[in-house]
Amino acid sequence: MVADNSSTPLSVTLRVWRQAGPDQPGKFVDYPAKDLSPHMSFLEMLDVVNDELTTKGEEPIAFAHDCREGICGTCSCTINGKPHGPGRGVATCQVYMRSFRDGDVIVVEPFQAQPFPVIKDLVTDRSAFDKIMQAGGFITVRAGSAPDANSIPVPKEDADLAMDAAACIGCGACVAACKNASAMLFVAAKVSQLGLFPQGQPERDKRVLAMVGTMDSLGFGNCTNQYECSAACPKTISHDFIARMNRDYLAASFRHAFKPASASTGGAG
């Protein structure tokens, strides 16, 4: 598809959530943004608005951003009710003003979910994702102890599927899009990626139990199969991975309940 390539400038009104700090009340404030190039990115538009605010002596709008090419997962607003705004398979930093029309009112809010408290304006605290990863999002391999990479062949189909899951950028749009604030897509993506490799088998049960357990304890909700997560995901990660994780979780719980364990597992050598 060759999209509209017109260069006619546009003007919009931003309706932005302003909140001075975590425990402060917030409110929407309107700001005009005039004569914008349609080739400008949404975040570049915010830069321009912020420069104007600074020049006027007002505090600029705090928003999270870094790579501005859709891979670091830092940017995180909800635009017109949709995490990462209009368009499918893009992050906020990849939204361009050509997606809007002259005269539009654009509503910009932080990601809203109880486990992601607001820090300031559009910036939220997503450290809960790190905590889930710390509980089990890894394959234990000490540097220097790995066998030759080609000594463990992995079927191409499995590697490709693992890559689909591994594309997750950890932005949290799946949580913000879900009415239950579920982190199932995020967790399922990592569980599936590592579970698809032979290298990931020894810790497969432990991993899924630990990650899901941590996810639950941090206040994320459950999946009720609406798939808003996949629809909002900037990497369009499939909700099929959630089903895959549920199977893993069930099997792991079952095995965990009946598996004989050595009394010395984890003991000193």
């Binding site: 600029p60 790579c67 990863m133 394959i139 391999v141 790995a146 890559m163």
Partner: protein
Amino acid sequence: MAKLESKVPSGPLADKWRKHKAEIKLVNPANKRKYDIIVVGAGLAGSSAAATLAELGYKVKSFVFHDSPRRAHSIAAQGGINAAKNYQNDGDSVHRLFYDTLKGGDYRSREANVHRLAEVSVNIIDQCAAQGVPFAREYGGLLANRSFGGAQVSRTFYARGQTGQQLLLGAYSALSRMVGAGAVELHTNSEMLDLVLVDGHAKGIIVRDLITGEIQRHAADAVILATGGYGNVFNLSTYARGSNASAIWRAYKRGACLANPCYTQIHPTCIPVSGDYQSKLTLMSESLRNDGRIWVPKKKEDRLKEPGAIAEVDRDYYLERMYPAFGNLCPRDIASRAAKRVCDEGRGVGETGLGVYLDFADAIRRLGENGVRERYGNLFDIYREITAESAYQVPMRIYPAVHYTMGGLWVDYNLMSNIPGLFVLGEANFSDHGANRLGASALMQGLADGYFVIPYTIGDYLASHKPGSRPSPDAPEFMAAEAGVRALNARLLANKTGVPVDHFHKRLGKIMWEHCGMARNAASLRKALQEIPKLREEFWATVKVPGSGATLNQSLERAGRVADFIELGELLCLDALTREESCGGHFREEHQFPDGECKRDDENFAFVSAWEFQGEGKAPLLNKEPLNYEFVKMSVRNYK
């Protein structure tokens, strides 16, 4: 005068690293937990170092200004990672990778460091595959490779167009495991604002918590900086907006030498600039040069025609014409300068005339649209999002952009700077890429440093310092450094009215790009050296930072970083002016062959320029580390 001892071990090139590992001092396992190590930065080098040192038993404190270690800009590397595995049976070897990297760097890197890099490259792939990094594979289940610039073998491992992301997430997983195990204390949203020296040794850092504004003092037995490159000194670059040089710059001001700052890499294939509001440039991976063909019209008057309307005979596939042996896969510095040259001749395409075509029509004919999509689909998607054009139908328009900095803090063979106890890894150091980095070598170096070099070499330093000898964070040196940071922030916040930070960054970027970009000359550099101090003065007099330092304040963060970039930019230009030769990414117009290629001067410039801070307002001191090539003969690079 700084003492610059490279500490390269003696003996045959291929035995140096093995011998060094066998001879350097060790810390016994029970003592390791008594040493605290600070690691600043959590990209490939920082995350892999923090995880590995914690695995060994050291107590690690990891600091990152991002809200999570996974956001570090290594995440954005697209193309791949080199390793001398020779899985393709195409004649690769450690020696060849070493030689290609050294030659690619235009003979301005340290021989022994580069050889070690090539040696450990094979271990990196093993490590990452074991971690579950989803590398591309062949149908038989074994790892796939592709080709990158500056090499005639296929040695690049990749994970679609997201290799950096996958390698970083592997290192992040390893780091997360150690955080979960309590072996790493993770400080996110924490920006290092000063290095603390006690008795001449690096013993801690001053940090600002970016959320609460709290200024903290952290002490340790050694400090590792893995904070990336300084390419944002050009404002527009492929770096992330937050990428900054403050950690290395403030270490420089504490006495660490900054080496070869003028070696900056301009990547040939980026999406051209479209307007003044632009905040960043986006890379189109070098891997595209495997199948895309670069051209411009032969005749100036064709430059605004639809590309499809320009007949084959009227196109100039200039890289294939000028460098038939390497063609579109010649090294980055060469491809960038060639693009500049054809645009300077008035044959550049697009509205601005600053663009060349990267055309996939032949590849689509050969592989089919789906074949091309399978290889580069995500890159074509990125291109469409930014330009609203489909590269399946019309050629991409590309132009060079700042992408990487080969210069950085000076380090010895152990990756220790001239400040004892201060180690520098990854892009933040200067050591392995010389004057030009080859594609797919940055990921290799970051992980080599973190997984396989620092775990050995840091022990050599720590072993000569008694466990428990680290100073208290309440020592006078820490209090003084904290007071300095507070004073600097107060100064940044002082102006009540004025100009936003961004304006200064944009102006600095323009000065740098115009006078110290792809081509440099003495007159132009002298002009930059007049303009930058003026800009600096104006910055302090008129910069407006709203809000307070006691909360999240993104303007304050940026102001501190831009203040440092202005100073670093000046040193960069001074280095470029002093280096009276052309080599790799540093092209001095006065020093070129008649065909426009770099003219190196090995007789007078075969050294590392290590700049030493002499105090505010004083000219920095130039220290020289001679580059002694024992095993390879320096020669003129030839890719023809």
